[in-house]
């Protein structure tokens, strides 16, 4: 066990170096790759800190989906790169703000009382009432369900913001998302083999979330990755953003949350309160809808606004 501190310090140093590489890198593409590696190492750190739920989400969202979003942004950026460098004053202000936030975080973390205040025992105590075996899922879906619902609203707002970047004339059309695809190329082979496996793993991640690390976000992100692979390989085309079924899938999670929320007044006298012995099945219903919404929202975020009317 003696070598553990050396391992942790090496890992921490590597993460700082990667962060610097991502921020200071001269080339966008290299910076994004640095950022993805940074996310994966961060997931490893969460794992070492015994927070596998956070680790899974960090790997899926921080490393995976955000990486895909940034790569998409890089690809769109090409062609205007040279004359759109932010001015020196903008950069100084951005650097100052980032430094202030970092300094604030450092102060807060260092001034935490030791041992840090924790609600973990309280969260564990009422675990039985929620029907969950995983305290993290219980926090997300029962104790702080309202926060989780609002998180989904934020995700949807982000998608609305992306969609509003398209031209008025192409509103409701299909996002431009096509690549030159080789017939029988390796990407199509990968899509055919990996998508069924990955989708199953995604569903499994969501399902075991009740009792073990996992849950709607990690599962949804993995399913989204499989959807993106299908789009990249040209096996599927992105749906028109006006497509009614797509829009239903996008709001399904919030609708399920609101429905259960208002039904809470009927069966338990409060918004988003679950009736006593029905908590688990209701949570599963919300989570199914949420996984669906998360997967579709993430895919649509990456493919971007509508390009042409079809």
């Amino acid at each position: 066990m003696n070598s553990a501190p050396i391992l942790f310090l090496t890992l921490a140093a590597l993460i700082v170096v990667l962060a610097g590489f991502a921020v200071l890198g001269r080339r966008q593409f290299a910076s994004v790759i640095g950022f993805v590696a940074f996310g994966l190492l961060l997931a490893l750190v969460w794992m070492i800190l015994s927070a596998p739920d956070v680790a899974l989400t960090e790997a899926a969202v921080g490393g995976g989906v955000t990486g895909a979003l940034l790569l998409g942004a890089c690809a769109r950026w090409r062609g205007y790169a040279s004359d759109t460098q932010p001015s020196v004053s903008t950069r100084v202000v951005a650097a100052g703000l980032c430094a202030a936030v970092s300094a604030g975080l450092i102060v807060v973390v260092l001034s935490l009382p030791s041992p840090a205040p924790t609600l973990a025992p309280a969260a564990r105590e009422s675990l039985l009432a929620t029907g969950m075996g995983n305290a993290v899922t219980a926090v997300l879906m029962a104790y702080r369900a309202l926060d989780t619902m609002l998180e989904k609203v934020v995700l949807l707002l982000a998608l609305v913001a992306v969609w509003s970047l398209g031209r008025d004339s192409s509103w409701g059309g299909r996002p431009d998302f096509s690549f030159p695809i080789e017939k029988n190329g390796p990407l199509i082979f990968l899509a055919k083999v990996l998508i069924p496996v990955g989708t199953l793993v995604g569903i499994n991640l969501f399902w075991v979330g009740a009792d073990k690390p996992g849950g709607a976000f990690a599962g949804g992100a993995l399913i989204a990755a499989m959807g993106l692979l299908a789009l990249f390989a040209g096996v599927l085309r992105p749906p028109s953003i006006g497509n009614f079924r797509l829009r239903f899938a996008l709001v399904a999670g919030i609708v399920a949350f609101l429905l259960v929320g208002f039904l809470g007044f009927v069966w338990a006298d409060d918004f988003l309160a679950y009736p006593h012995d029905m908590a688990k099945p209701i949570i599963v219903v919300i989570e199914v809808a949420m996984t669906l919404s998360i997967a579709f929202t993430l895919v649509m975020l990456v493919v971007g606004p509508a390009g042409r009317k079809s």
Binding site: E182, G185, P186, L187, F189, L190, V193, L194, V197
Partner: protein
Amino acid sequence: MMTWLFNIFTIVMISFGALFFLAGTAGLLRFPDTLSRLHALTKADNLGLGLIILGLLPQIDWPFGALKLGLVWVLVLLTGSAASQIVGRKVHEEKNS
């Protein structure tokens, strides 16, 4: 006695795996062109990870833990080789044009 043997097996296999990762990384950094760098990289992915997973097999619950580890290896092989193919073909295209 058996656990002893298993532990030695694990240590040996994981050390060999780590060696392949080290060699692969050195190759990635030192080799002159994209294709030979790909060659170095796949050694780490295929053999290095394969040996590490082989070494972990005696330490994990049978059969499902072992199956999961095996699946991880197969999936990395699959994605790694597909990605190498894509990069390799791109290099080939650029050479010919």
